[in-house]
Amino acid sequence: MGEKMQCSKCDVRVCTVDSSGMHIQGEAPSWCPMKTKADVIKRAIAKCTDEDRKIAHAAAVVESEAYIREPWGLKPYATRVLEIINFAKKMGYKKIGIACCFASGWDAGILTNIFLNRGFNVIARFCKVYQVQNTKFLGLKEEETLVPGGYQSMCNPICQVDALVDSGCELVVTHGQCTGHDALLGKFSQAPVTILGVKDRVLAHNPIVVLTNPWNQYYRKLTRKEPLKLVYVHGHYRSY
């Protein structure tokens, strides 16, 4: 199969168009999946069901409707919340489920109102549903919890999404889930999952700031030469 795909290091980008909407001309790098994995792409397209086709169509229309076309170029108009609303309308969904972290419960209340205002039926489920204890189910040690000796239930994304789908939700919107829990939710969901927000505890839920301000003091520990050190002290992992 040859070299591995490294689209992030490609500077030709023949697969996309320039700002005038025309194809970019050039020679694709040798690792380009369009050269090395044409069979995988062909099989993937053959796998596409009518449902997927409908989702892809709605996604493309939502994307193009997210901009206002001004004489000087494209002007972004739609926020992510609006995009999700447009998407759900195009797909004809009636009921939206919000899968939300407990810490973002306040946001979920506002979001519920936003969706209701647009005529959807909404239901929210928080991440700690069914109150299973970390220490019993996942086998965490007592000192590894936040309050040793206290009651801490685990984030339970699989129960959360199953409860939502069982209540008749056709689209699951995750909001503010921790790292890893949204992965579990997306993996086991029976309904389409789209993401509204991700949790970033340090950067006010805007994780890309690390990559747009890499020269900043605070994030230099990521861009420095030595890799991060991961240590385990008093039952908790720390990286520095």
Binding site: M5, Q6, T16, V17, G21, P33, M34, V40, A44, I45, I55, A56, H57, A59, V61, S64, T79, R80, V81, F87, C100, W106, D107, G109, L116, N117, V122, R125, F126, V129, Q131, N134, G139, E143, E144, L146, V147, G149, G150, C155, I158, C159, D166, C178, T179, G180, H181, D182, A183, G186, G197, V198, R201, N206, P207, V209, V210, P227, H234, Y237
Partner: protein
């Protein structure tokens, strides 16, 4: 609350709960829990939850355990008591959490699926991940270069207007390409609404969303919720909010348990 009752769409769910039986505050965790309300999923959907717990198999439970460890690792701990410092002090941004999760769970091969518009950021993050000892396979959203008319996009619905040669984004192709590389864990950067649904549907490995696209707020998607009370945030509602302040105040009061 009143807004929902007026529209006749009142369906009580977790946002209406004041008991917080499943999550006692850290400061009160040792005092015991309150009784859950009758609409709590642990009462109303008990069979569903019980059934869902059986889906935690070996690999999944290992992943859930790593995620729980990373979650707890993100708060400052008082060395004297061994419990979290109050009010909580947070430690790690998400970019770092993903690296920690990969190291704790020993996931060596990571797949990175990104939007072409974020290519420079994706390149930087690839370098960061490789520097931390991971093997990274990255794939951009336009891979395959399939023209948009193949899925029935008309000329008027195209982004740059009629007669542009636009290619389509495809979460499905990205997921299948990363599946063919047998990645241990996937990372999403800036996928649009709908494409992330397709990616989640077809990806075999666990998929962690990292950056979410927001065209207006520059990636800070939650601003769309926090700023609905401002004049520039009102677009998320259909009509002008007249009682925005009241709505905000009632939400906060509910949160305080008053």
């Amino acid at each position: 609350m009143s807004e929902r009752e007026e529209k006749g769409l009142l369906e009580v769910s977790c946002v209406d709960c004041k008991a917080w039986a499943c999550f006692p505050d850290v400061s009160t965790a040792k005092k015991g829990r309150r009784e859950p309300p009758s609409y709590c999923p642990s009462n109303a959907q008990k069979e569903v939850c019980e059934q869902a717990l059986t889906k935690y198999t070996d690999k999944t439970i290992e992943f859930a355990r790593s995620a729980a460890l990373i979650e707890n690792a993100c708060y400052a701990i008082d060395p004297n008591t061994g419990s979290a410092v109050l009010p909580m002090i947070t430690m790690h941004p998400r970019a770092e959490e993903i690296i920690m999760l990969g190291k704790v769970g020993t996931y060596k091969k990571l797949g990175l699926a990104f939007c072409v518009e974020l290519q420079k950021e994706a390149e930087l993050y690839t370098n960061i991940l490789e520097n931390n000892g991971f093997e990274v396979v990255s794939v951009c959203c336009k891979t395959g270069a399939i023209p948009k008319k193949e899925i029935g996009i008309t000329e008027e619905e195209k982004l740059y207007g009629p007669h542009s040669e636009e290619t389509m984004c495809s979460g499905l192709i990205m997921a299948e390409l990363l599946n063919s590389e047998n990645t241990d864990m996937n990372i999403l950067m800036g996928l649009c609404v709908g494409q992330d649904a397709l990616f989640f549907k077809y990806a075999e490995a666990f998929t962690i969303p990292f950056v979410i696209i927001d065209r207006v707020y520059g990636g800070a998607t939650m601003e769309g919720i926090y700023q609905v009370f401002n004049s520039w945030g009102n677009r998320n509602y259909t009509e002008q909010i007249t009682n925005g302040f009241e709505l905000m105040r009632s939400a906060w009061l509910k949160r305080e348990g008053a």
